[in-house]
Symmetry: C2
Subunit: 276 residues, 2 copies
């Protein structure tokens, strides 16, 4: 999917919501456990319930890997289901990978060729040659810049002798590797006004924003400080939608929650459509 297509989907659906499929078998409604592949049944119901209100899905690979080979099969089935049923959805592998060249190539093969994702989250610590193998035609790298967790303070905020912080160095350096047609950044919703600092360095890039909801970030603040003229935001929500209800009505609750977020997003999107 191109940047332009993604933007068109956002305007058409009046949403920049990404639904995080962090499906935890311990948290899904009990009645599903009687089915053959409970996690897949859950995902399918969540996807059908939310597809009208979001533009992207983001399965979190850890949750599938914790179930072993069976979990990986569930992941592949889930991606295939989205691809076939909702081909306009952008599908992100939340994997936080990154290794030496020949190994990153293998991860890229796993995520893009085998599982069929559009994008993958990548950790920048190992530098250029660990990131480049993921930059395949029509595929996106979403590089960690400033994450939503408390540990983001440990290294990402460290300033060099010129006052440039590590996350700023990552934003600058990585723009030498790919354009904003293939590169996005992860910026946590909890970072508030730091979005302005990020927009100084990466005005046009899409940002994938986790941390609204369970982690405490504010959607309004993210939109205020992070939105650009092509929206430039994919805001993720996982637990708030997935586990809105744990009875047989979980899918209805997920639909309501995602619709609520979409409606709030539609308000913020007026800011850019009015500007035109």
């Amino acid at each position: 999917m191109t940047r332009q297509q993604l933007f068109e989907n956002i305007i058409r659906k009046q949403s920049f919501l990404c639904v995080g499929l962090d499906t935890d078998i311990k948290k899904i409604p009990r009645h599903l456990l009687e089915e053959g592949d409970a996690v897949y049944s859950f995902n399918k119901a969540i996807i059908d319930a939310t597809a009208d209100y979001c533009v992207a899905y983001k399965p979190n690979l850890a949750f599938y890997e914790s179930l072993g080979a069976k979990g990986l099969a569930t992941l592949e089935k889930t991606v295939t289901y989205i691809r076939q049923t909702y081909p306009d959805q952008f599908v992100i592998a939340d994997a936080k990978r990154g290794d030496i060249g020949n190994t990153s190539e293998m991860y890229a093969r796993a995520i893009f060729e085998r599982a069929g994702f559009d994008a993958v989250t990548v950790a920048p610590y190992m530098g250029e040659d660990s990131v480049k193998p993921f930059l395949l035609p029509d595929k996106w790298v979403i590089l960690l810049a400033l994450t939503s967790n408390k540990g983001s303070l440990d290294f990402q905020m460290t300033a060099d002798a010129n006052g440039e912080r590590l996350f700023e160095k990552v934003l600058k350096k990585s723009q030498e590797w790919a354009s904003d047609e293939q590169l996005m950044y992860v910026v946590g919703a909890t970072q508030g006004k730091l979005f302005s600092d990020i927009r100084k360095i990466a005005p046009n890039h899409f940002l994938l924003v986790p941390g609204v909801g369970a982690q405490g970030g504010s959607l309004k603040e993210v939109a205020e400080y992070g939105m650009n003229s092509q929206c430039g935001l994919l805001v993720n929500s996982s637990r708030q939608i997935l586990y809105a209800d744990n009875t047989e009505k979980f899918a209805d609750a997920a639909r309501r929650e995602s619709k609520k977020v979409q409606e709030e997003m539609a308000e913020y999107l007026q800011w850019i459509t009015k500007e035109k």
Copy 2:
């Protein structure tokens, strides 16, 4: 496995070799492809051929994930085989994981509980709460400090206002999270004399050292600058051993290669046994 047990294995076997199981289905001898699970057959033969000459195995998860659910099943079978047949081997998941707390917990579950590894490589970018969920009883975290690849220059060498480089900050900060009984570091063999700088900050920790062989690092230099009184090194070799020969005699060739490395290591180990 405790630090002391690992050291005793090193002295008894006169080796600090870790064999990297980066098994690439495109590189293994063709005749194996006729078997049901060619990668497993290859791994089993390599393990049987090298177990006398190494103290650790390090499957690289990317290579298994690139084969999908089937690959993950092969990985689990491989770890189980090592566990049951060679229980004195230290088994490392080369995964370079690291994510927010609830996700790192899921990765820890996948790697330790399900697959049965002793240790996992973790990327430090997301800080303390991304690393801590891996610090489970009797398990090890091997944190990326200074990697073997060219991209290690991009961010790891960046100095802050006090001249402290990022890899040094990672070494210092992470020692607040766990002791050297549960924490090791990845330091690339290509880093030569920088091992001395690392030993100033982490004198007692074990270092997992990739980059000897195909990547060009020198075993002698690593031993000279990196060894401590309890050895403190696990030097990895993958391609040089795995693909020493691609005929039906591949296992014999792997045995010869690993024996050669072990014999060189035995020489360097005299430095510490003589000191005693």
